[in-house]
Symmetry: C2
Subunit: 174 residues, 2 copies
Amino acid sequence: MQYSIPKSLEILERTPAVLKTLLSGMSDDWTTQNEGENTWSPYDVVGHLIHGETTDWMQRMALILDENSDHVFKPFDRFAQFEESKGKSLGQLLDEFDAIRTQNLATLRSLNLHESQMDLIGIHPTFGQVTLRQLLATWVAHDLDHIMQIVRVMAKQYKEEVGPWVEFLRIMKS
Amino acid sequence: MQYSIPKSLEILERTPAVLKTLLSGMSDDWTTQNEGENTWSPYDVVGHLIHGETTDWMQRMALILDENSDHVFKPFDRFAQFEESKGKSLGQLLDEFDAIRTQNLATLRSLNLHESQMDLIGIHPTFGQVTLRQLLATWVAHDLDHIMQIVRVMAKQYKEEVGPWVEFLRIMKS
């Protein structure tokens, strides 16, 4: 499947509502547990998604599109959410993610990007040259990756409870 | 985390709405592609979840609870959805899943199961003896497993499009 902005928007605009439907009002037992040391809970993941909206996707897109910049991306802080989410409820984080995502997609739409811009280049701290198309496709896949992570972390809380069925549940081995 | 009916209901009652939020109105490009030969699309997965509601979870629970039965489970047909979903739109399947799940959870609640019943036994075609607790915990984990599958299948449609980021996206290797 080739990248297209309309198709990617179908996912990007649904993610905040998917996360609210999945997590709003749920017990802390499901939302604050993780998969073990140095892993994230659903609560942590939502904070990470907010940090991406405020510091990463739009900023990198702007660097690619700005003819007067050196196009060099800043490294992304994968641990920022542990500080930034402090004192906030999961409900607050879900609303915050929804608001900033809505704003970012409005900006994306307003840019009216055309196909010829999709091969413009940014410099990633690890990979070197990447294209705008790859950045925007990754934004989509990154949403899905973290929805996957959230349901995986929740499922693993029942790893013992499912008994022998653990063998049939791919999520327990992921 | 120990199995409890109230905690499991938090997931079981959300799944139909999560799937509707994620999939309703989405292009066929996202919902009818799979991961390759003999794998399922999001559309196939929703049909599989319906088949579980109509033939598996409640029927197996009833066999466990029925003192006059031999407690032997029928094998589950993992391919029934390919016949049963024929001619139905994804929207119809999502509504059907929502309706039958709602009905099944009403039945589950009406049984007022108590802790002493959770160790009652059924005979699984592969595993032999399993408990009611394990069956009910598996119902929950099975929902999460298939939400994971749906987002994984969608993400993989962009496996080429993300370029070098494929390395950072666990979902692409799952």
